[in-house]
Each structure stands twice: as C-alpha cells, then as structure tokens.
Symmetry: C2
Amino acid sequence: MKQETRKEEIISTAAKLFKEKGYSAVTMRDLASAMGIKAASLYNHISSKQDILKVIIISLAESFTEGMAVIQSSNDLCLDKLRQIVKLHITISSQNVYGMASLNNDWMHLEEQLEYYLKLRHDYENDFRNILKQGIDSNEVIDKNLDVMLFSMLSTLRSLYLWIPKKEDLNLEELAANLSNVLINGINK
Amino acid sequence: MKQETRKEEIISTAAKLFKEKGYSAVTMRDLASAMGIKAASLYNHISSKQDILKVIIISLAESFTEGMAVIQSSNDLCLDKLRQIVKLHITISSQNVYGMASLNNDWMHLEEQLEYYLKLRHDYENDFRNILKQGIDSNEVIDKNLDVMLFSMLSTLRSLYLWIPKKEDLNLEELAANLSNVLINGINK
DNA sequence: GTCTATATGGTGATAGAC
DNA sequence: GTCTATCACCATATAGAC
C-alpha cells in the first residue's frame, strides 16, 4: 500500500469537503482546519485552491477517457461493451467517491483546464453514442430514442458516486451485473 | 399570462445564475448586475440571499410531494404509476429548469429549511420505492434489485433538467412516452 | 425602487520567523 | 513543514438620501 504524500493528503481531504459543500463554499481555512494545520501551511504543498480542483477533476476525466479507449478497441458485442462501460463507472466511482462529486458538480469552476475538460467529456459522450449506434446496426439494441437511451444510461452512471457510499457490504461485481441488467433489460417482468 | 413581480424576477434570475455556477459562487453583486441594478437595491424586494434559495428549493420540493400524493392515491396499475412519475418529473423540470439545478445541487446550503427539505426528499423516495414494491407483488415488475431499479430511475429523472434544455423542439408528451419505455423495458431488442 | 456610502467580517495568497 | 502577521480584495447586509 503506497502511503499518501502530504500533497495527496490535502487533495483527498479537499475532495471530501468539496463533495459536502461544493468547491466555492469550501475555504482554504476549512481545508487547513480539516488537516489540523493553518491555511498558510497548505501553500507549502499546493500552489493554489484552483490547482487542487484541477488535479481532482482532470485525473478522473482522463481515467474515463482511457477506460473508454480500451472498451472501444475490443471486438466484443455492443451489449458487452455497454456492460464494460457500466463496470468502468462503478470501478472509478467506488475508488474515488469524493472526487466524482467535483467531476460532476464543480467542473465549471475550472479555469485553465475548462476547455480541455469539456473536450474530454464531449468525446466520451460521442464514443458512448457510437457504441449504442453500432448496437442498433447489429440488431442488439432497439432502433428508437438513441438520445433518450444515452441520456438515461449516462445519468444513472454519473450518479453512482452518490449511491455507492450509501450501500454497506456492496459487492461491486454483483452491482455491475445487476445495474447492467436493469439498464439493458429494464424493470418489467 | 401573469406578469412577474420584481421579487419573482429576482428569484428567477438568481435561479439561472445558480444553475451556471452554484449558489455559493454567485454573489449579490452578480445577481444585481444581471438585473441591471445595484446590489443594495435587491434588499428592497428580498430579505437575504438565503431567502432566495429557500423559495426556489422548497417550492419545487413541495411540487414533487404534491404530485406524488396524487399518483399514490390512484388505483392505476403500478407501471402506469411509474409512467405518471416520469411525467411529473418532465413537467416540473421543463417548467423550471433553472430551479431544478438548485434543488439537486444546492440543497445543502439551506439553513432553517434543511431538515424540512430532507424530510420531503426522504418521504418522496419512500413513496417511489413502495410503488415499485407493489409492482413486484402484483407481478408487473421483476423481483430483483429493488434498490438498483429505484436508484437508476431516480438518477435519470433527477438529471432531466440538464438534458431538456439541450433538445430543441422537444415534445414533452413524446419524451414522457419514450423515457418511460426506456426505463421500463430497457434498451435491448 | 434605486442609489451612494459604509459597517463588519471573510477570502485566497504571500513574507518571513522558527 | 508549520507558524504568525498581514495584504488587498470581496462578501452580505444596512442606513439614509433622492
């Protein structure tokens, strides 16, 4: 188990606070207090509040991009690719529940990296849509409401960070199977 | 068409700004500037920034509670009740896209009304869960993963405010039918 | 209904001692 | 690596003139 550097400690503490109140409502004094030090001391490890947000969001966004690239390059059936996307979201979300809150809710407070983030997100959604499209072409997926399907799946997957920490003794493999099943087959008997 | 009072004008302008940057990041100067007046002038119409947030969130939360009460009291089949819940979310979200952002993302900044809001939300989720449970008992809904189904449907419905404004020429009746279909029957062929 | 002026306190960040 | 002290600025909100 690699031990956290002081900088990583600051970043994960910040992510936790950002999840509770959002980036703008968390002050450097709040963060310092949660670490048991004074605000000025934070600046020995990080260069600015903005820098913390950047690290949290961009590293997560790039994880999704990398995961999607792997899924895309496979020759699996579309429905299997969709199951892999579900797995990707569950894995990343469960490993960084706090950071996912910033990725979802505080991206608009990015400064230098805003456009880069928006491009990553846009490309990710496009790749997701293309997999659904292929599923329609190969007769695996219903040929109706492509955008509604994409919106529904993405909304659910993006909310996992809110839901995962509320379930105790959660088996991630089981969750992936169950959630894939609900998203693909619906809820009716 | 009822014309907006100055107070209502302030509240709907605030909701728009809150959606873009979140409650904490919007200053009274931002809000005043968007209205074309000075910050001090706002206080002739509203008593505090907090008061604006309270009005936006509580009125929406109560709308959902009222809608759910109507749906619950009917004798319709469970799947029909679920379709009505979808319709309820689409109707409220499309009428108040900006306010829905605060309801979803800024509720933690409520002060006096925080507990009241949490109770409304908790009761709403409970009612939703009970409808699904009844659907299982009446053999309309698969008897598996109740919590996963609830989470998935609620996540999608709570994200409608992000998605509705991106679609031009959106027919709400059609969206309700299509979204219900995707949520109930899934996406596979 | 809006303004200017102002009170009071919080904000991110830096300098320099230990 | 942390501290105290401090800077320059921004926050919500009020008082009182027009």
